[in-house]
């Protein structure tokens, strides 16, 4: 996973729960709670999207909020490509990520083509 790689490359400890769990501000990822709130609102609670957007702008700036919106749009794209084409990881990669996948419960996904 690129999140783990980009943290390891900078000698930063990363709790992978940031991907699925509740978030606190951390040195590894600045403004993680506001970023996660934008993502969560866009999927689960559109009514709270304006406030999530405002909170991220307040914590960062407008350009950062727009770039976060673009990344969400991009992964709405990538998830449909992966799941629409049945893309799976090579065996070597699956092995290297198996501990991480188990700890995050990813193997329970219908899309877990292992």
């Amino acid at each position: 996973m690129m999140l783990r790689a980009s943290s390891t490359a900078n000698d930063l400890e990363l709790d992978v729960d940031v991907v699925r769990g509740d978030l606190q501000e951390s040195d590894a990822i600045h403004h993680a709670p506001e970023l996660a709130a934008l993502v969560d609102a866009s999927v689960n609670d559109l009514a709270s999207l304006p406030s999530a957007r405002s909170a991220l702008v307040e914590a960062t700036d407008e350009a950062t909020m727009l770039d976060a919106a673009a990344v969400v749009a991009n992964f709405e794209m990538m998830t449909r490509i992966a799941d629409g084409t049945g893309t799976r990881h090579p065996a070597s990669r699956l092995e290297s990520m198996s501990e991480l996948s188990s700890s995050m419960g990813l193997e329970d996904f219908v899309s877990a083509r292992v």
């Binding site: 943290s7 490359a9 699925r20 969560d40 976060a68 709405e76 996904f109």
Partner: protein, 252 residues
Amino acid sequence: MTQTPTSLIESSHESTDLQIRSDLTAAHAQVWEKLAAPGTWWSGSERLAVAEVVRSALSDTDPVPPWDSASKSGRLPNDSVINSELQDAVYRLALHAGTLTEQWYQKMRDATGVTPQQWVEIIEVTIIVTSVLRFAQLAGVDQPEFPEPLEGHPTRQTQPSKPANHHWVPVVHLEDSTPELAPFYDGLPALAPVIRALSSVPSAMHTLFTLGDAQYIPMREMVDLNWTRGTLSRRQIELVAGRLSAHRECFY
């Protein structure tokens, strides 16, 4: 006067005081130009019919569950130029992609009669609409209207795609690269399976690279684990990417 696809995107991105990056506006305009134009295997009208289903699915406030037929629920046009089985497949791809299985894919192909390459192009249309409309929603700007369909025939350009170990759809392997795929394959020692997934339709690869470069990270910068546009750090980018993917229950 009918607006051009580019002007539709520009109007959308100018409907706010926010300063949207010009390269992002240009990327969305470029794929909007392709949206209702003849593609490789589908006409402009057929591509637009796919786009209509994607838009309906994304805006559905009471979504049809993955195991039910959206077309039979009355929420999709019954005079569409694509058949109802394909409408159902597109709706599920747009809204419940994480539930798709290889068995579903094979049954869908039997029911709809689409070839793997036609399915790849349907995915291309789906990612155009999803990217553009979801960005507009998140950024709080007006959603652009769809362009008018353009007349003309699909190119029907084939590629030397072969069955793949890491996909349901056939792909063009690096050693079989063609002039159409050279812009995406050349100079790269390897290409992630999810990128190669669309290689049987080079125009879909072009769409993927156009959007990915502007929305996420330029493909050739991917190996730089500290790459940034000066806004989000690489770790912040990957947090957003990972969290969205987890919400969509995408194992890959």
